[in-house]
Symmetry: C2
Subunit: 447 residues, 2 copies
């Protein structure tokens, strides 16, 4: 049996009640972590422009746009919600592969909740299957023995497959159709890191969600795909990662859960920045150094941090997402980080720019990805130093449920009323026992 | 200036009157060669299934489905026409890269002809730019010094970019927006050969057409992409082809035309089969051997023929497309090849199967792709042998305009009336001087 078929079989046969409680809870946490993002992000100009492009072509307006009152057909809603959810790079991250798996899967699901009744547990179950699938496929493509180019944006590559699994589950696909859905999504798997820093970045994971939903809809109607779309000789793995061990995709399905190694960002920037940012924040809070008194800041970080987030002079919030220099300067100056710091104004604040220019970073291959050292050298000769063994938002220091609730409230504050935020928060945490997941979409909208 | 920007600039500034006459004529030939394909292909079950999946989500039904009377919104029409056009693998082929560039570009354009007035010459011009772009990008990715995996289905990889250029041209994008359209399409560039032999194969180039159109629409509204989406350090070329020389994309734009090396298939099967098929056909016509009297057939072919079309025992017309054994058996038995031979019934005809099982093929790296030798060994000891230096449908032996007209008539015969086929044929050949390209869509539909 091909690994893809094993994946399809598991997705079809899995039962919510048989998933371990931590897995079920993690699906809920993934939802709470994500749902505020599009509510905040929908105000961004990139969402306006996407909407302007696709709205004239919308079919029946059956699906909600989170943070708005306007509606679109389910496929286009998946796209627009996906863009809105990706604006500030504040989502979940499967650290080993640096994918952000919740967005594509949850966008595909939310697009369907008003088209058919989906029970709360069924929604979370499908979401869990979608996230688990993406993490497993990404791991096969990105972990040794696979050799993969750093140019791949794996969220785009794996997102459609996860979204297809999630949508396929609630559409009730049988095993063959689920396999075809995987195959149709895999045939579209794409994404280059060259998009990072431009609006096209947010489109990549958004396309994945829409395409996964469309793959499930096509498979439902009988569009057939190949037997081994990922692991076949000319399949996705052969394109993306030489030497990939695809057996990892299916090994221990239902027993071990890669989604338990998915984490949630406490800061709205690239995950590889988080270790240095944690250190800077801790030093700033404890010692409250005056930015003007700082001669320089020295960072030692994992090489991937500079590879992915080494922009020296970002010009926008979008580019700032990929600048460790910028966020360390923000942390030292502001001594607390929230979504309010994700803005063009902060990136171009002369005080931030001045401090950013005094931040130096060195790649140290001996460090883990969630590890860093930060030294703040003051003009008076004092050095404040901190070694961060594990960043906030790492597997070892995950946000608590209460912190995820606070993140949702922070993100939704400018858009939804406090009452609605509270109702949405309650609906998310209790979704597992709710009769209809539609409530999540309804409460996420502006009345 | 990045190669992608050079491409965008050329697409924006190019003038139809300044293109050499052979290039302009080739755009028309590409259209005539392609337009019959969806008219024939739309009767296939894969089109029915695609339509069943996307029809419920259609927006304003502004765009024609060729060979039908039903209509869909432009994006979905591009998808469905793309699937219909890809069913029988009978389209054009840029031999050096084995891409089929007309489909994605023409589907994006036909989706727009009823939404805005597009002059006939403007339509052909945009089509030429789309085809030229795909051929150039594919060549950079596939020709030495690039090292590319044979798993890539380059039609999918390059199709969206060509469709974006074509649609972007008739949408009147400026240089920046054209560059963004390229970038958004490149971020979605995808396609694995593992899909070949399943219905998902037809989806790959169809998705490319729809995605290219959507990329142009998104860019038109201001969705920004990166400056160097193809050639950037983490761009498309880095994903697909190690060592690719992207300067080839822009070199000699407007002076040399890669689309003049695009050819049109005389047979509805993989282009790499055509040399052996030409030889078998010539021998069968000249010597009329009784299939029952044939002991075996020996082929020597370019290695790519067996790599891509080496299926020993196809079970369907779809799988037959990728079987040199099958088509050589058909050629010897039928002594003429038309679209009527693309059918499940022919693939499963016991007489064809019996002869197919006696066909042997050997890969000879010393042969060109369009070269083959065919030996028919009769039970009486006679050997009929033929060396084909250049296959029918190769650059050296292209179909004449009259043969393209006959191909269109053959494909449209079961769907359109003879009068309509004649009107459509005339409309295509005279499109360059027509005030409105809409006529092509109108005449391709069933009333």
């Amino acid at each position: 049996m091909s690994e893809s078929r094993a994946l399809a079989r598991f997705a079809v046969r899995s039962r919510w009640e048989e998933l371990p409680e931590p897995v079920r809870h993690e699906a809920t946490r993934a939802l709470v972590n994500w749902i505020g993002l599009p509510i905040w992000g929908t105000r961004d100009v990139a969402v306006e422009r996407t909407l302007a492009a696709v709205d004239p072509f919308s079919g029946p307006r059956e699906a909600a746009l989170l943070g708005r009152s306007r509606r679109l057909d389910p496929l286009k809603a998946a796209l627009v919600n996906g863009v809105a959810g990706s604006i500030c790079d504040y989502d979940d991250t499967h650290l080993e592969t640096v994918i952000h798996p919740t967005g594509p899967a949850v966008c595909a699901l939310l697009a369907l909740v008003e088209r058919q009744r989906i029970g709360g547990a069924d929604f979370l179950h499908a979401l869990a299957l979608g996230i688990e699938t993406q993490c497993r496929v990404a791991k096969a493509l990105a972990a040794p023995p696979a050799r993969i180019s750093g140019a791949w944006y794996l969220t785009g590559v794996t997102g459609g497959i996860g979204a297809a699994i999630a949508a396929g589950r609630v559409l009730g696909l049988d095993e063959d159709r689920m396999l075809w859905a995987i195959g149709i999504a895999a045939a579209r798997a794409a994404g280059a890191r060259e998009t990072h820093g431009s609006m096209a970045k947010s489109l990549v994971s958004a396309f994945a969600g829409e395409e996964g939903l469309e793959a499930a809809l096509l498979a439902q109607q009988g569009m057939e795909g190949p037997e081994a779309p990922i692991e076949g000789r000319r399949g996705l793995a052969a394109l993306v990662a030489e030497g990939a061990d695809c057996s990892a995709i299916a090994a221990g399905l239902g027993q071990s859960f890669e989604m338990l190694r998915n984490t949630y960002k406490p800061f709205p920037c690239g995950i590889v920045i988080h270790a240095a940012l944690t250190g800077a924040l801790e030093l700033a809070r404890e010692h409250r150094p005056d930015p003007a008194a700082i001669e320089r800041v020295r960072l030692a970080v994992h090489p991937l941090c500079l590879e992915m987030c080494g922009r020296r002079a970002p010009r926008s919030a979008l580019e700032g997402t990929f600048s460790v220099y910028h966020w360390v300067a923000v942390a030292i100056t502001a001594r607390a980080i929230g979504i309010r710091h994700y803005s063009d104004a902060v990136v171009n604040d002369p005080a931030i720019v001045a401090l950013r220019d005094r931040v130096e970073a060195r790649a140290d291959p001996g460090l883990r990805r969630d590890e860093a050292t930060v030294e703040i050298v003051l003009r008076d000769g004092t050095t404040l130093a901190r070694h961060i063994a594990h960043a906030l938002g790492s597997i070892e220091r995950p946000p608590s449920d209460a912190e995820l609730t606070a993140k949702l409230a922070d993100l939704a504050a400018g858009t939804l009323t406090p009452e609605r935020i509270e109702a949405l928060t309650r609906a998310c945490w209790s979704l597992g026992s709710a009769p209809d997941a539609r409530l999540i979409a309804t409460l996420s909208c502006v009345e």
